[in-house]
Symmetry: C2
Subunit: 410 residues, 2 copies
Amino acid sequence: MNNALRINGPRLWQSLMDLSRIGGTAKGGVNRLALTDLDRQGRDLVVGWGRDAGMTVTIDQIGNVFMRRAGRNQALPPIVSGSHIDTQPTGGKFDGNYGVLAALEVVRTLNDHAIETEAPIEVAFWTNEEGSRFVPVMMGSGVFCGAFSLETAYAARDVDGKSVGEELARIGYLGEQVPGEHPIGAYFELHIEQGPVLEDAGIVIGVVPAVMGLCWYDCVVSGMEAHAGPTPMGLRRDALQVSTRIMQEVVAIANRYPPYGRGTVGMVQVFPNSRNVIPGEVRFSIDLRNVSIALLDTMHDEIVAFVAQVRGDSGLGITLERVSHFLPCPFHPECIDAVRSATTMLGYSTMDVVSGAGHDAIYTARLAPSGMIFVPCKDGISHNEIEDAQPAHVEAGANVLLHAMLARAT
Amino acid sequence: MNNALRINGPRLWQSLMDLSRIGGTAKGGVNRLALTDLDRQGRDLVVGWGRDAGMTVTIDQIGNVFMRRAGRNQALPPIVSGSHIDTQPTGGKFDGNYGVLAALEVVRTLNDHAIETEAPIEVAFWTNEEGSRFVPVMMGSGVFCGAFSLETAYAARDVDGKSVGEELARIGYLGEQVPGEHPIGAYFELHIEQGPVLEDAGIVIGVVPAVMGLCWYDCVVSGMEAHAGPTPMGLRRDALQVSTRIMQEVVAIANRYPPYGRGTVGMVQVFPNSRNVIPGEVRFSIDLRNVSIALLDTMHDEIVAFVAQVRGDSGLGITLERVSHFLPCPFHPECIDAVRSATTMLGYSTMDVVSGAGHDAIYTARLAPSGMIFVPCKDGISHNEIEDAQPAHVEAGANVLLHAMLARAT
């Protein structure tokens, strides 16, 4: 039927470049924080493109935007695709924006060929996915699925004390629809991988079976600050040396649970942090991830046990607090199949890539069948002004999205 | 002869407490940075006490102060004792100040008993030992012994841009004597240990045979910043994990060369230092010490070789730069013997304690026979407002100083 249909790659690329100019940085990145004037300009541009494509626009109370292309059967829940258009303060052109504009390109392509679908098609963008200006991250989709309340989200404030509620109203995106009441028949999200797996393997399309769960911890090791010269090795209580044992174990635990085990110490603070003073206290973060609940639980148990062992060995005070915990999110088999089948039909090279990062799709998955598609990004880098992707990959991902959505909507 | 002579412990303690009020902090410490108005007030107080004790005062061009009690033979070079009265910004009452006021107490005691010495006795305090406001540390004694020039010292500026030369003139301590031309027959410096060895062993007097040499390094490990979730363990270039291997080796090297080997990583900076980002770069300091040149050289060779090995293993960029190098400083056998004999005569418990920290005596040792005496300080802590020492130990140390100086001066 429509197997020969392809999106317009140069048009999609041009839209990405046009949107990236709003908040564009000297280094080629984008700084368009959620609910700023720049975010408003970006939203207005995308909504204008949506109206130009004949779509009707609904905004909910947390500022999520749904742009609808009618189906033959308007009673069916829409097949939705999207992502977010807010960026990190030193973000790139593709993260989030690509998912939204690729969904728009799907609609433009259907229009070009006057193709009707049974179910309506919608392009969505979710408020404040990045969480750079307001926490928590994935705010719009989180409120939408009931992970936290509208009141909690409204009350979140930026460093200048401005609240989400005030800023939504100020930029004109405080809608009336109750979040979560907007129907979704299925949800697809196309995204750059934000990791190096596809590029490393030379593969164009990543089928995403799941998003990893994660545990975040704060670890504090308390020793005794002392002079580096006069204090013999045997009388030291060196908080950094004890910390290095735990830091290494974080990686050892991840390596024991391949291929999806991840272990990272990203943030370290040493006190007093002076060249000739033995550290009296070290604070560091631990990030553990895996794709199954059972393996993530095992990794959790192992870091807790290891810290207890080091506490006993060293005699130092050590606290380990779990500050965040997301369960793994498997995507819906029918959505995964739709992505896989579209990729096969299109003849792109493909592999499964479990997402290590969170996305709005983990929240939509609580309410509707959801799935994701990844394309490679240069050096696996995102959240960075040098974030980049190849036009051919950007085009391929949008073609997969087109055919996955068509399969669900027709 | 004078074996029954003892200093006046309460008077010494009272002088310590009186001086500590100038720049005294709420937490019981002292903030009296070099060449500030508070330093002037401290200097004026001590010089006033010196004049009250009948001493004549000489100031050299770097602000070092020598207060002289005449000997029978004024042609003999004086037997000098002292230390410094500047403090760290959150320093204590004893570091440096104790050495100066104990020397003053020696003179007061000799005056009390109308004891004449063959050689003159002098009380000295050296400018800017701490180096907190102006670098380098041990500035006054360093210029005195020719380690660096007067011009270099004058040009040193604090964070507000004020120079040593300007500040010396402003507070009235820019003297006329050429540094180094002041004769010294022998030099003794009494100091709190600044380490835990004496307290841990329950010993009152530390005879100091030498000061350790040290090598300071800056180490920079350069990996690849990447997202903690999407990046598989096998594709990481984690600068922190590689750094922990070197950090642990620093301690292992020190432990291979006991009892005076020391190895410390005191300062660590992680970039970008974000919870969910694999560190792309880590910078840290390394501090290696030992008492013999040969052992310190061996430790240096071992850290250089280990870093080269890790560079090869990991494939990461690693630089190791030696930024400071002090040779070990053995003290003069006759001064060591004078301290040991005085301690034995007085009946105090004693042990040898190699100094792990630098002192003005390592510079005077280049020009004249020098020696040091240590007394315990609470928990080995100094450079801290909670720095503390017991009155009985403070008194004992000054008695040892008295008899060591008498042995050299009579």
